[in-house]
């Protein structure tokens, strides 16, 4: 079959007005259905004619999925359809969760942030160009990882968490949410389930065709942030080839709980280096009880890369991740 790109094939469009209707439609269409949020990931797939769902459920008309409100226990409750621009410009987010505001602000371009949603940014598919080319790789239901051969072009691929597939999670907000210990609320016809952000993302060892726990019929509805720790220090950085419209080569999101110049607790998360945002437990342990300086940063960096394995072209990511973790401890503010 000849390859045609940049032409969206026909589909049935559903535009529910409420979450109830949306999950009913999703349930009805199951794996023939597709959730459309901002469309940035979706329309790439559709235009390439690689994903051809029969039914598209557009969440654009569901007001209850938008907006940022105070959550219980002094936290924040963010609708999954809240745009990245709204998120990064929101006063509460900026002042209390600067990590998340910064991550959202570094996504792509202003146009994409206006259109793109937090839910979509979290749940987006990987950008592995073998997979995105429609090749029959593991992630596409096949039996090979084209990116993990001795000849593959895998500069952008993973150094951690590989299992047959070596794609990376492309989200900028995901590591921030894991670092902030956010909760993801997922609805389906049987009700609501809440996942810790850390558990929301899954690796190819668990399910090679999905990046998150979301199964057909599931809908990510809300993202809940716990109240921030007093005295918390934050660090977010995204390294990319160019300063706009680019996914990360590696990113780091760190939250340090510092009291009297000593790190009591830390959450250090990296992305762009594994198929899911990785919480670096060893780095966290390495810095607990130390002052947030370069020495602690170096210890965290060294712990971060233990077990990292480079593919043919991405050895640099080991150094990059180590350095990012190091400066996230050293420069967190």
């Amino acid at each position: 079959m000849a390859v045609i790109r940049d032409m969206i094939p026909p589909f049935e469009l559903y535009q529910p007005a409420g979450v109830g209707d949306a999950v009913r439609l999703l349930n009805e269409h199951a794996d023939r259905g597709w959730v459309l949020a901002g469309g940035l990931d979706t329309f790439d797939w559709f235009k390439d004619r690689i994903k051809r769902p029969a039914a598209v459920i557009d969440l654009g008309g569901i007001d209850e999925l938008r907006g940022i409100a105070a959550g219980p226990d002094g936290g924040l409750d963010i609708g999954a359809m809240t745009s990245l621009t709204e998120l990064s410009e929101n006063g509460d987010v900026r002042s209390r969760y600067p990590l998340l505001a910064e991550a959202a602000e570094l996504v792509a371009t202003p146009q994409i942030r206006n259109q793109g949603t937090l839910g979509g940014n979290i749940a987006q598919d990987t950008r592995c160009w073998y997979y995105r080319s429609g090749w029959p790789c593991y992630r596409a239901g096949g039996n090979i990882c084209y990116a993990a051969t001795p000849r593959s072009m895998n500069r952008e691929h993973c150094i951690l968490g590989a299992s047959r597939c070596v794609a990376v999670n492309p989200s900028d907000t995901a590591p921030a949410l894991v670092a902030l210990d956010a909760q993801m609320v997922v609805a389906n016809v049987s009700g609501e389930t809440t996942y810790a952000a850390e558990d929301f993302f899954i690796g190819p060892d668990i399910d090679i065709t999905r990046m998150t726990v979301l199964e057909p019929g599931d809908l990510l509805t809300r993202i809940r942030l716990p109240a921030p720790q007093a005295g918390a220090r934050y660090y977010f950085e995204k390294i990319r080839d160019r300063k706009s419209w680019d996914f990360s080569l590696a990113s780091v999101a760190t939250v340090l709980d510092v009291e009297a110049g000593v790190i009591r607790d830390a959450r250090v998360v990296v992305n762009g280096v594994a198929p899911y945002p990785v919480r670096l437990g060893a780095s966290e342990v390495a810095v607990r009880g130390r002052s947030p300086d370069d020495e602690a940063g170096q210890a965290a960096g060294a712990a971060a890369v233990a077990g990292a394995r480079a593919l043919r072209h991405n050895d640099y990511k080991i150094a990059l991740m180590r350095n990012l973790v190091r400066r996230s401890i050293r420069d967190a503010a």
Partner: protein
């Protein structure tokens, strides 16, 4: 006295329409009964079509027809057809389908079964040069004169070179000046490196969409092209028809960078399909398809040796280039590169060797400073290396080697028309603050290290011998007919300014006629090779001089006296010393119509091109008409120079580079349009920086398929990658061999920006050169950390 129009900022006539969206590009046109076409591209990088089964497509409702390669005139030799039965790169169009709408056309293409026999393919030129290595073409692997050659180097050539050194077997092109070997023996410093510049695609904003229909045997074609007059015969040639039967409409072009010089092969598809099915056909080229058929810059795997005296003067330059040239034609980048290198450094002795190798990657064409940009970006960092070793300032070493007015170029040591290179170096150094900035070199601030660099880049900047065609109509305005294209460079307006200058006419009395061959356009240069400014300020100058003569003659005839008694200014022709005796342009136009003959296009100079003659005939009787060929004397080759200065900060923990400051200076002769010149130069500098910084053209080596088919994967630079206020200044001294003194500027800034950036990054790395493009964060970080490099210096398409 009208205000002098040369050297002032004007609003070009196409600007408002472009900004407001009223401008109609090829894709915006519609015709009665228009249908759509889609292309079927080869899934393999090299294959032969065995069988095509179109039954399922033909059975679809709304299907209208199929065009195969056999429906088009056969392509000879190394040439490229719009369609092929032996695709030589993945994505090469095999056939096109027309249907009532695009959705149906796409579905029909998907329903077609093409049985392909895979053939050997090659992406890396060096692999093709090995014994037993694959050839990109069935008739050979290296470009010869009009035919392909088969060149294989013995294994010993490859064994002698390790992974980081270019293997150098027998070249197919070689020339030398003097003798390099004794010069190297006597040199105070010799720099020797293997260095590579990758191929990159053009990525113009507007893909090469095209709409065509036939009426009474004439082809009406709306396309995206850099040139107008020169596209018409090209389209006619592709369809084996008379150029007079082609009406080309191409008023706007969303960028070409050399990829749409005289249209594109693909224009033949809607034209031939329309003829076949008897309906107007629109072929909208998508961004994805543009990546394949949109042309690319040839890449080089190179080796260089440079010898210097203690004062920094280059005594010997030895250059070897293996060109990655795609599967068709023979890109001349590699030979131009040698020419540009000779001009840039004026080496006392020089040797050039090269091999243009075919690869199964999309076709190459000129890309803004073809060959020049690559070689400047490859060599300039070695000038810095030599300067370091010699203890000579980096600005100084460039001055020592810069061409003067007695400069020469190429193997024949041809003279140049003018060269204000040292002046440009001074202007640029002053603008940038080189003296202060160079002190920053290597200075560290936290994790960031400063680096500064200079890039010096010459490129050809003008041709001669084209026609100008002017009409003063009864509306009293000067209508300048422009056969050049509207590439977006403002040339259609700016080259008309020489006519206004000659006639001393205010700019608001000038009307530009362009972009539609039914509007009677003169024979022109292609809008490429930075020729236009030079060629058409001359042609319009010649035509305006002729027009002025006609005005004077007309006035003398009606108002008495001799023609030489009359002056032309401000839209009037009047008696010197008695301005009240005269007539305005409107009256002159009416008189010309009444008088006919030579005043109104009844007679034309013998030496103008037939196309111009036909245009004059078409305009005859509509006003006072003058057509003339540029016969001004011109000795030597015309070149422009741009020198860019870059200041960067490199983060040693991430490998990221931020450009803090950029300044560029040009020797492009007289400045016609300061604002446009600055935009043009800065744009070129950015484009060059893009190639150095991160633009990529990645292929999977196993399957021969590219991945960088979108802007987000190909990564041309974004506005945030560049400093907000790049600065620019021009020497603004006229070239003595052209009446207006202006030279072209389109191309030299690309190499200047790219080289300045590469030099600044190397400077921040303490003089360490990565010797390849692009200088992405991964390459830099791996080098700084002493880790394995992501790519070897000779790896292509990474």
């Amino acid at each position: 006295m009208a205000e002098n129009v040369i050297g002032t900022d004007i609003v070009p006539p196409d600007l408002r329409a472009k900004i407001t969206g009223r401008a109609r590009y090829a894709e915006d046109f519609r015709a009665e009964g228009m249908v759509f076409a889609k292309l079927l591209g080869s899934p393999m990088p090299h294959a032969r079509v065995r069988r095509v089964d179109t039954r399922a497509a033909e059975a679809m409702e709304g299907f209208l027809g199929i065009l195969r390669a056999s429906d088009l005139p056969p392509v000879e030799g190394l040439g490229e057809g719009a369609l092929t039965d032996e695709p030589k790169y993945e994505g090469e169009p095999i056939l096109a389908v027309a249907a009532v709408d695009e959705t149906t056309a796409a579905a029909a293409v998907e329903a077609i079964r093409v049985d392909l026999e895979p053939l050997p393919f090659v992406l890396n030129p060096l692999e093709s040069l090995r014994e037993g290595g694959p050839n990109a073409r069935l008739d050979g692997n290296v470009g010869g004169r009009g035919e392909a050659l088969t060149v294989k180097w013995p294994d010993s050539v490859f064994e002698e070179a390790d992974a980081d050194k270019l293997p150098m077997g027998e070249p197919t092109t070689e020339w030398s000046i003097g003798d390099v070997e004794p010069a190297f023996a006597d040199a105070a410093v010799v720099v020797e490196e293997t260095v590579m510049h990758q191929s990159v695609t053009h990525h113009p904003m507007e893909p090469r969409s095209c709409m065509a229909y036939w009426q009474n045997g004439k082809l009406y074609i709306h396309g995206s092209t850099q040139s107008a007059a020169r596209t018409r015969p090209n389209v006619a040639g592709m369809l084996d028809m008379d150029p007079d039967d082609v009406v080309l409409v191409a008023e706007y072009c969303g960028g070409g960078f050399g990829s749409k010089i005289a249209g594109s092969p693909i224009m033949a598809v809607p034209a031939a399909l329309s003829r076949k099915i008897g309906r107007p056909v629109m072929l909208r080229i998508t961004r994805y398809e543009e990546n394949y058929i949109g042309r690319a810059r040839a890449g080089f795997q190179g080796w260089v040796r440079m010898g210097f005296r203690t004062d920094g003067r280059m005594t010997a330059l030895d250059l070897y280039l293996v060109q990655d040239g795609g599967p068709y034609g023979r890109a001349s980048d590699f030979s131009t590169a040698a020419t540009v290198a000779s001009l840039a450094y004026q080496p006392e002795n020089m040797r050039f060797r090269g091999v243009p190798v075919y690869t199964n990657t999309p076709p190459r064409s000129a890309q803004r400073a073809p060959g020049g940009a690559q070689i400047v970006a490859m060599l300039e960092p070695f000038m810095d290396k030599a300067a370091r070793e010699l203890g000579v300032d980096r600005l100084e070493i460039r001055k020592v080697n810069a061409a003067g007015h007695d400069g020469w170029v190429g193997s024949g040591k041809a003279p140049v028309t003018s060269a204000y290179v040292r002046e440009a170096l001074d202007v640029g150094a002053e603008l940038f603050g080189w003296e202060e900035k160079r002190q920053l070199s290597g200075r560290r601030k936290g994790t960031r290290v400063n680096g500064v660099g200079i890039g010096l880049s010459p490129f050809v900047a003008g041709s001669t011998g084209f026609d100008g065609l002017l009409v003063v109509r009864p509306d009293g305005k000067l209508h300048v007919h422009q056969g050049i294209g509207n590439l977006g460079t403002h040339s259609i307006a700016d080259t008309a300014r020489s006519a206004a200058e000659v006639l001393d006419l205010p700019w608001d009395r000038v009307v530009i006629v362009w972009g539609d061959t039914s509007k009677h356009l003169p024979w022109s240069s292609v809008q490429a090779g930075s020729q236009t400014t030079h060629a058409h300020t001359r042609a319009n100058h010649a035509a305006a001089t002729a027009l002025k003569g006609l005005l004077q003659e007309l006035a003398a005839r009606d108002l008495g006296g001799a023609p030489s008694d009359y002056r032309v200014s401000d839209g009037r022709v009047y008696r010197a010393g008695n301005p009240s005796v005269g007539m305005d342009f409107a009256r002159a136009a009416r008189r010309a119509i009444q008088l006919g003959g030579k005043f109104s296009g009844g007679e034309v100079p013998e030496d103008i091109h037939n196309m111009t003659k036909a245009s004059v005939a078409g305009l005859a009787g509509q006003g006072l008409i003058a057509a003339a060929k540029d016969n001004y004397p011109h000795e030597g080759s015309t070149f422009s120079w741009v020198i860019s200065f870059a200041h960067v900060e490199l983060d040693v923990e991430t490998g990221e580079v931020e450009i803090i400051d950029l300044a560029s200076a040009a020797d492009c002769g007289t400045v016609l349009h300061p604002r446009s010149l600055a935009a043009q130069t800065n744009g070129g500098v950015f484009q060059g920086i893009g190639m150095a910084k991160g633009q990529r053209w990645v292929f999977d080596p196993k399957w021969g398929i590219p991945f960088t088919k979108r802007f987000y994967t190909a990564r041309p630079p974004g506005i945030l990658d560049l400093p907000l206020s790049p600065r620019f200044a021009a020497v603004n001294l006229p070239d003595p061999q052209t009446p207006v003194g202006a030279k072209g500027i389109g191309e030299p800034p690309v190499g200047a920006g790219e080289a300045a950036y590469a030099c600044a990054v190397a400077d921040a790395m303490g003089g360490r050169c990565l010797c390849r493009t692009p200088l992405t964060a991964d390459m830099i970080l791996a080098e700084l950390e002493g880790r394995p490099r992501p790519y070897g210096v000779l790896d292509t398409h990474v």
